[in-house]
Amino acid sequence: MPENDAVNPSVRWDVLKAEGAVLLTLHGDLDVASTPGAWDALEKELKGGEISSLEIDASNLTCDSAGLALLYYMYTGRMTPGATVRMSGLSSELQNLSGSFSLADFQALRSHQPRRRSFLEEIGAATASWLRDLREQVEFIGEVAIDLSGSIFHPRRMRWKEVFRVFEVAGVNALPIVSLITWLVGMVIAFESAQPLAQLGAQVFVANLLGLVMSRELGPVMAAIMLAGRSGSAFAAELGTMKVNEELNALQTMGLSPVQFLVVQRVMAGVLLTPVLTMYAMFAGLAGGVPVMLALGFPLRMVLQQVRSAVHYGDLAEGLCKSVVFGLVVSSISCLRGLQTGVGPQAVGESTTRSVVSSILLIILSDAVIASITYTLRQ
């Protein structure tokens, strides 16, 4: 059959047909490169007619696993359903190797269907996992609270060196990005609010607005979101990798609690650094508004006067109070997500994602709660 020469130069075959009996003689090298083409061509050639018996002569053939797969496929009659198939001439080495092919395995694989869960089951499983997560969160909060208070009453038990390391990495090193972002946000708010306020002739109140927004709301929230994205994710990945590497198991068998040894210092550092970062973010945001005000023609002295008249110590206290809560929430939920990591590298990625999502969700939730409490107190 010369027509297949162009497709597969390394393998050729002759087909002799007589009253439903077919003799297939293969020559050359049936390897991983030539097999795909030969497979298609042979399938086309054999599937058409009524074939009652197929004899394969492989005495002039060399092949690798791919070629053996083709021979095996033909040998088991999948190309010529109903026909009796015989094979001859396979070298002993290839015969050894072809012993590892099994149609039963193949059919078992094809009939293997991963069990699908019904909709109701999915809802049940999701609820159960949500409740389990809630329970773990409550237990975790309790454990952190006990260990944290223990460390406050017995400061020597706290590994302060680790606290300061985290403080530096998560706080001091975050200053450039926090200043850039809050400065830009302050500038944009001032710029955007100046236009509607100009229609009322109240442009000077841009400074009041910016002062209030930054001290009560955006300062703490921006700093906390930055902490969640920059450091919370790092906590989760770090603890998650430790879990995958069985380091957490090592701590437990030494009689050390991972919460006491790893989480408490991170939470402590988080609580200490967020108020500082928040103060910094507030000033950076205000500083962003100043160039806009100057461009609108207000002198610096007047801008500062307006801010001072609008922002009271109470507003500052509200902002700092929020920031402490955010610090607590972000660093502890991130550590919890790290400790909840499952098996394998994928799980570390999942817990990192979950740490950022949960952190931001909790930041916004607790922000709303604190804002409504302070609103009630102010009445």
């Binding site: 690798d64 696993s65 791919a66 496929y73 590892s100 395995d105 991963p114």
Partner: protein, 252 residues
């Protein structure tokens, strides 16, 4: 199988090291076709480093690694890929992809490097899994397999493209003696049945005597090879007393 690759590894004047520290200085050895070759030595003697250079993961400071006559250290692009296709590697931790089933792990090289149909790829991957005795675990993920099964799946993945050489990094590390003996039997079977060449780094003296035809012993003090020959010969006749001791003490 009948692939005419002149199956020989030749290491010429290989000098390896990092950070200005030379670990192995101008070493030479050859691995012949069909051999099970063991690289021995105490911890820290550079066995794993040597293996990483043999498989092209690291660049040597000097020297050549010839795999059937082609220099892996200088090969680029298509030539490098062609050399890489001549061998498979079983890593110490098996290095199976956790997000895929055992079958998908084994099928991955076929998916990436061949144009076979899905049926053909499954048939081949299943035959390799049967070869290592894992056909019933095809749809399980690595996390659900035991350490020994993971090693077997790692071997199945390494041999799926019919390489002529298989590199094994501490194949029996972390396995119990019985599982480890089973793995040795599998290696012997593959070496005999498929005519493959094996290069293994190992500490396990039981498996050295069970499978290896020839071995080199690395010594960190001379930063090179101090003995070369069949393991049982080295145990009785090596020139250095510590090599004889090394090969006897652990065997006891």
């Amino acid at each position: 199988m009948i692939d005419p690759c002149a199956n020989l590894i030749e290491v010429r004047n290989l000098t390896v090291g990092y950070g200005g520290r030379v670990v192995l200085d101008r070493i030479n050895f050859q691995v012949r076709r069909g051999e099970v070759f063991a690289i021995l030595g105490a911890s820290g003697s550079g066995k794993s480093t040597l293996l990483k250079h043999l498989i092209g993961l690291h660049q040597p400071l000097a020297g050549e690694v010839l795999i059937s006559g082609e220099d892996l250290t200088k090969a680029q692009g298509a030539q490098r890929l062609r050399i890489l296709r001549k061998f498979g590697v079983l890593y110490q931790s098996s290095a199976l992809f956790g997000s895929m089933t055992a079958l998908e792990n084994v099928r991955l090289p076929l998916d990436e490097f061949t144009s076979l149909s899905a049926d053909a790829k499954d048939l081949i991957a299943l035959s390799k899994l049967r070869l290592v005795g894992l056909e019933s675990a095809a749809t399980q993920r690595p996390a659900d397999l035991s350490g020994g099964m993971q090693k077997r799946a790692g071997i199945a993945r390494a041999i799926v493209l019919d390489p002529c050489i298989l590199f094994l990094d501490e194949p029996s590390a972390g396995l119990d003696p019985i599982t480890s003996a089973g793995l040795d039997a599998l290696i012997r079977e593959l070496a005999k049945g498929l005519n493959m060449t094996f290069v293994m780094v190992t500490h396990e003296l039981a498996s050295i005597y069970a499978v290896a035809n020839r071995a080199v012993v690395l010594d960190p003090r001379v930063r090179g090879i101090v003995a070369e020959g069949p393991p049982s010969y080295l145990r009785d006749h090596a020139a250095q007393p510590w090599v004889r001791q090394f090969l006897k003490r652990e065997a006891a």
